[in-house]
Subunit: 331 residues, 2 copies
């Protein structure tokens, strides 16, 4: 499709919308960002359309120059119908994203789940270029994996492949919003880490985190990791346990998908070197005793996303830069 000169990639989040014009060489032009208006589907959709217009203007282009718009949307997405089925972050159900935007902008649109789009971005424009397979593990407010095989997204029959965030890693752990106890997401996501840190304080652990909690009224992952870096024992334990859980998760992905690379994305992947070092330490420990994992794990196969936030923009652009059949495994 060498005739396509410009497309727009959009990353729709619960708090902000990023958009950029992307050219045929997958370069980002005219990158913009604006707040997401939530609570009213029509207003949210209108703010997405505005972000597209802003990006086009920022690239000194007009909508007539744009061949198509690709969008990454949080929550459950029906890419065939072009509908956002359900998003807790955006507060919508069955939002007619494609129909609205195509009418509003007069440009062809395609949508996909935001994490899937980031995985496609890593595969088409990041570490995954030229690799036969890639697993993208997002570690942030939520935890989920997405699998790209031969450049194409493997969604599963319900679009639920890679839901490692809802595998149970601690049967006695806290209740997850999926309904089970001790899911990876309930214990090792941002909110899960903060909750585990608070639990220790409630159980009487001495820690500088107690003062932070009293001062701010809430703990964040950043508080826990910064306090750990300052030498606090309990915060250090929470961080170490988190990297063990996430290391186990990566080991599970390596064992089951045996991919060419695992790319770590999301806020936790970019929270500093200590968590990532801990993940590698857990993988090295497991590979030492496991004949299978020893073949599957190499430190340079498990890497922090070099694209960061650009992964979703580039992946959203890839949705419309590539033919649909080049993007999806049938399974």
């Amino acid at each position: 499709m060498s005739e396509i000169r410009f497309v727009v990639g959009v990353d729709v989040g619960g708090t902000k919308i990023a958009a950029a014009v992307v050219d045929g060489q997958r370069r980002l032009l005219g990158r913009v960002q604006r707040p997401t208006e939530v609570g009213d589907t029509a207003r949210t959709l209108a703010s997405i359309a505005d972000a597209v217009r802003q990006a086009v203007r920022a690239a000194s282009l007009t909508l007539a120059d744009i061949a198509a718009v690709g969008l990454g949307i949080p929550g459950q997405v029906d890419p065939v119908a072009g509908v956002g089925r359900n998003s807790v972050n955006l507060g919508w159900r069955d939002a007619p994203v494609r129909a609205f935007l195509e009418a509003e902008l007069g440009v062809r649109c395609a949508i996909e789940n935001d994490v899937s789009v980031a995985a496609l971005g890593e595969s088409h424009a990041g570490v995954g270029r030229g690799l036969p397979s890639l697993v993208y593990l997002i570690m942030g407010t939520g935890i989920a994996a997405r699998v790209v095989i031969d450049g194409r997204l493997y969604r599963g029959v319900n679009g639920l492949a890679g839901e490692i965030g809802h595998l149970v890693f601690d049967p006695d752990g806290p209740l997850c919003k999926c309904g089970r106890r001790g899911c990876l997401e309930a214990i090792a996501s941002g909110p899960g880490i903060a909750a585990r840190a608070r639990e220790g304080l409630a159980a009487g652990r001495r820690s500088a985190l107690r003062d932070v909690l009293v001062r701010t009224g809430a703990l964040t992952t950043h508080d826990v990791f910064a306090t750990a870096d300052a030498g606090d024992a309990w915060a250090g334990e929470v961080l170490a346990q988190t990297s063990r859980y996430l290391g186990q998760a990566v080991a599970t992905l390596l064992m089951l998908f045996d991919p060419a690379a695992v790319v770590l994305g999301g806020g936790l992947a970019h929270s500093g070197p200590r968590l990532i070092q801990g993940i590698h330490a857990e993988l090295a420990r497991q590979a030492e005793t496991s004949l299978v994992l020893r073949e599957q794990y190499r430190p340079d196969k498990v890497v922090v996303s070099p694209l960061g936030d650009d992964a979703a923009l580039l992946g959203a652009a890839a949705l419309v830069l590539s033919e649909r059949k080049q993007l999806y495994q049938e399974g």
Copy 2:
């Protein structure tokens, strides 16, 4: 490839070799079986060639009628080089299977791991026909899963995708031959079940299994399951715990691959209804609390292999009935 009229499918096991002529409609003709001669690679290869000749004779054909031979081989296989890399069951390393058989029989040959071949058989000629994806879980002396997406085998970069037998399900469990403790294979395979039953006896559990052990000098899975069926409490507990472990394994496969079907194969899958009922009970219990698994699990999606031993023969034939590019995912 409608011009192909006959191929031979071969299932090479540690104790016996099965072979059959397969026609273009995937019907089995002239099925034969003979003991495997192990301990000497040249003799093992010669006995495989003999099995092929016997099958061809049994179908009232000659080797001149055979377009190609496909073989399922235990252990690590390099399908591109046509070499059996390593097989504990056959006691060989770097066995030149394809070169030997092509010279001996004068017919084109293709080889693949035996479990992968059974998965292809289920996909091409069994429950997987027409489905976008399938996970085949073999539960016998070993435990492993194989993934078929869009009719093609997803091998992973090291040919080690689906190695769920070496995920840890009980950190305090017995040592596995892979080097780790409490792998699924160490606790829920045939030998793992017998070992757990013996452990209970050693710890003083009263059970009719004690008499079996004294009488025969060893316990088998069949002993444990038959004694459970006769109402023995400890044997019943071992069986129930086994189905919980295997149910968890199927839940993990559903969560990560979200396949259209999970096919259960191997000796344990055909050990009677009680284990399978227990696996479904565990899945139903988990689906009750998990929003994700509730979408992924339906009783009719997890089925015992209807092809049984024929799966490997039909899959081996599929290796040569289909084009290579139709059989493999690049990942």
